[in-house]
Amino acid sequence: MSDEPPPSIKSALLVLGCPQVPVQTSIALYLINKLKKSAIVPVVAGNKAANTLLVVADPDRHYLGEVMDLDRAVAQITGKKREFDRCFVFIHNDAGISYAATMGAISSAKIFALVYGEHYEALVKQIDFPCTIIAAKAVHNPLPLKKALDEVTPWAA
């Protein structure tokens, strides 16, 4: 049996990047909360460290729902076993750009590129595939990226 929600329920995949930039975990929890309040089921996909940061921060799962390995998520979407309405890709390095481009190619989800970190402007210039870019210079302080998210309201219909 698949854990995939019924088609009538909207879903969103959060593709986490390397957790070395602190704002990622904070913004992920913030975004998950906003999505849930909009009746969108959030699913997190990251590497072990990125996922564990979230799981430890939310032990009673007030915010987190399904958390899965990033490679498994890519395999399931590529194999057409899983699909999402929205896909948020956290980007603070070149690998993040590659993952966002991959999601845009393998998934029919609406792609949101969350670009942050010290070099966010250079990263934004590299994005030449269809997606909504939400970007801010945010490393330790999540508020600039939170503000950028709030302006776009990607959880809205």
Binding site: L16, G17, C18, P19, Q20, G46, N47, A49, A50, L70, D71, V74, A75, I77, T78, N93, D94, A95, G96, I97, S98, Y99, A101, T102, A105, I106, F129
Partner: protein, 91 residues
């Protein structure tokens, strides 16, 4: 690196951008194929900005391997069957 760790691979490049790895393959391999993200090679679904170049040199396969924290590696693996499969994909 998951199943990649069990392979007998050689790292040709590391700490480079995905696009630099693609250009390296195109400039250094007479034989290469372009595939889309998610294309399966061995047991790996390739990550990258389309098109993704895979180099072929006899039975050696050269491909980009991207991880969130370590960027893109260019790996070289010898595998007769997989090289033949990739050549068949190109045709």
């Amino acid at each position: 690196m998951g199943c990649v760790e069990s392979m007998n691979y050689e790292i040709l490049m590391r700490d480079r951008s995905f696009k630099e790895c693609r250009e390296y393959i195109r400039q250094n391999f007479k034989e290469y194929i372009d595939v889309q993200p998610g294309f399966r090679i061995f047991d790996i679904h390739l990550i990258g900005i389309p098109p993704i170049a895979i180099g072929l040199d006899r039975d050696f396969i050269v491909f980009p391997y991207t991880k969130p924290c370590h960027g893109t590696f260019l790996l070289r693996v010898e595998d007769t069957a997989e090289a033949a499969r990739l050549r068949a994909v190109r045709k």
